[in-house]
Symmetry: C2
Subunit: 429 residues, 2 copies
């Protein structure tokens, strides 16, 4: 069977499943999710066995110990997957939610309601728990899922998906659509373009992972892609900032968890407070082991200090301003006020999350209005951009796109809508 035929079979099955999924009640979906959670725990020995095959291949492939750690499934991680499924079951069902309602002068009653999107392809890298997370969020929203994880995780991902499907079928019988959750059963690279050419069956693709992966998917896809690009997040300390608050926010945004997309990569400091703020914040950052990459003005201020650890202060180069380090590195630039900060962010940022620290409402309002990012904060850390922190429950990712969902994507964001018209024989005059 050619790759296109193979993917067509998969996608066509998913489309049929999506019709069955849209007919499940919330109670049925939740019952299936609880059964899936139990099954993951009960089948922990088999899951670990499948995972051991992947770990062995991974070691042969020469994966780093960090990569091998991400790949590993142990009882704790299996329990965490099960807990995630139960949490998704406990969330309200967004399908059928009335988004708008109006009665026209002719008596026609219109309702805009949330509906499943249909068939969603999720492409991701190593961690097998994404399989359970993504599949459960899609299942709860009535979407059929096609999962494509890293090739090093194929056995683990397949076993997780098969466990979920078997549990769903045991819970709901014939009502559970056979192809609701599928893993792409080949590691061939050609599978992705083949699958993403099938616009008649596939409604959406969400790649999760490094920028290279996401760009490659977006480049080849004929179906809509919601992209979760890098997070080049900024904190701007305005001249009217409470500098103690600014220090706390900068430290939190950079070092509380540097490896995540909503961590800050660049600190912008208003020139009016630069000489006062920079040495203090630099000392705190250096104390946590953060390397600073500074523009000339900042460099001059910091380099003049006797106590500066020279190895932790570098001159920033142009490409630094648009780099997501995910590490203990921070760009620092002195800017001339809020307008310059906004211009820097819109030019170098990734439209993810950016913050201003200021007591000046005019500056804050301008920043909130003009920074073109999915989440913009006034006197709060960029680290809050997260489905859980936003009160959405679980999230499938954070979109940096403008069409479709933007920012954290929870259950609501995995739905589309349709209009229902209730008439009594109305015709158009």
């Amino acid at each position: 069977m050619s790759m296109v035929d193979q993917m067509t079979k998969l996608a066509c099955g998913a489309k049929a499943a999506s019709r069955g999924l849209s007919q499940l009640s919330s109670e049925e979906k939740n019952r299936a999710l609880f059964a899936m959670a139990d099954a993951l725990v009960n089948r922990a020995p088999q899951l670990k066995e499948a995972n051991a095959k992947d770990m062995a291949t991974g070691a042969q492939m020469g994966l780093s110990s960090a990569m091998l750690d991400r790949l590993k499934l142990d009882d704790k991680r299996i329990a965490a997957m099960a807990k995630g499924l139960r949490e998704v079951a406990a969330l309200p069902d967004p399908v059928g939610r009335v988004l708008d309602e109006r009665t026209r002068p002719n008596g026609l009653r219109l309702r805009k309601i949330a509906t499943p999107i249909g068939v969603v392809v999720i492409i991701y890298e190593s961690r097998p728990n994404v399989t359970a997370d993504a599949a459960s969020l899609c299942f709860k929203t009535g979407n059929a899922t096609i999962l494509r994880g890293g090739k090093e995780a194929l056995h683990s991902n397949t076993d997780i998906a098969e466990t979920m499907v078997a549990a769903g079928r045991a819970a709901l019988g014939e009502r559970f659509p056979a192809h609701a959750i599928q893993v792409v059963n080949t590691t061939d690279r050609e599978a992705i373009p083949a699958l993403l050419s099938l616009t008649q069956y596939v409604d959406l693709c969400m790649p999760r992972g490094g920028e290279g992966l996401i760009r490659a998917v977006a480049e080849c896809s004929k179906v809509p892609v919601i992209k979760h690009y890098k997070g080049v997040c900024h904190v701007f300390v305005d001249r009217a900032a409470d500098l103690a608050m600014a220090e706390q926010i900068v430290m939190n945004a950079k070092v509380q968890r540097p490896a995540v997309c909503n961590a800050a990569e660049t600190l912008l400091v208003d020139a009016a407070v630069a000489t006062q703020f920079l040495p203090a914040i630099a000392a705190k950052l250096w104390n946590k082991g953060v390397e600073l990459r500074a523009d000339p003005a900042t460099f001059t201020v910091l380099n003049a200090k006797l106590e500066t650890p020279k190895s932790k202060l570098k001159a920033a180069v142009e490409s630094d301003w648009s780099t997501e380090y995910n590490d203990y590195i921070l760009n620092v630039r002195t800017v001339d006020g809020v307008a310059a900060a906004i211009a820097h962010i819109n030019h170098y940022g990734s439209a993810h999350s950016d913050a201003i620290v200021t007591a000046d409402e005019t500056a804050a309002t301008r920043f909130l209005a003009e920074v073109e990012s999915a989440a913009v904060y006034w006197n709060a850390s960029t680290r809050f951009t997260d489905g859980g922190e936003f009160g959405m429950g679980a999230e499938i990712g954070i979109s940096t796109d403008k069409i479709g969902a933007r920012g954290p994507m929870g259950l609501d964001e995995l739905c589309t809508y349709k209009w229902l018209g209730y008439g009594t024989g109305q015709v158009r005059g």
Copy 2:
């Protein structure tokens, strides 16, 4: 200058303009729109002169009289464009609308607000009034527009856009961004792929026109495309239908305005009422000159009648079921109940607008839930899928996509959103 350089210049200007546009108040935008409306009327002689050049070229190109009629600008049409602009000015401004609001346990206040999308490319065919319609809707929503009409309308489109820009600048001075409304100033076919490769500047493309145009645009675009495909709309007459109501809805959906996308192309009749309903509706449709293309069961029923005009009854071929005729032609199929009707519609339809006529709430509920179209009606005509009829005011088109807007696209649907976080120094624990 290469085509990519030329389009980059255009798109880069639009991106800069989009930032200026997002800073205009509702009052400023409306003032500019009224000034544009006045300017179109005042410059009618010049607009007609530009249009005369297009009409002459069009005649030389051998355009049909219908095409030439679409291309023509006269005082009535110019007045209609101006009226459209004033209506857009009168509509509420969607930008800044609060879509969601929540305060988290840590006191962080989150607001989800509607914002402009940024830079929107509109690709369309002959009628120059689309230039004013599309530009005004985009302007009102704070989006910079790049317009690409038919090559036969270049002079008209350019003159309309320049008139609007000059009027906007006269009304708002420096506050009016110079590149808010631009027409692609070449008829070169390579301009479209070049423009739609510029993901760093262009946020969305909306092609309007025939299926071939839309497919070609979707195929080449690297930016998100909201597609307005064909309308293969259905009316299903259920066994529990009020047959008098069904007749009125079928007649309205087919003949009130056959050339539009929300007109019906296929009538599905429940086998239980086929022998009763078909002869009566066929007689009414024939009386209006409608040709029927029937499946074997329907053909047999209708062909048996003495009074049947044989030239107006044909056997449907497979491709007919997915054809948008935009004409006095209707497919007719006898189906075995609501499930078969739903399966037919989801298989052959275009996810635009479909209706069920029935007094049976169970059948209606199933139809509304399972038909996967942007608009689904119970006891009302498919012809209602329209921004005006939905109470949205003007519309820029009707989306048959699932990601981004779906169904009629008015001002709200030309916006995206962002999250604003208002804190008092919150950091993540």
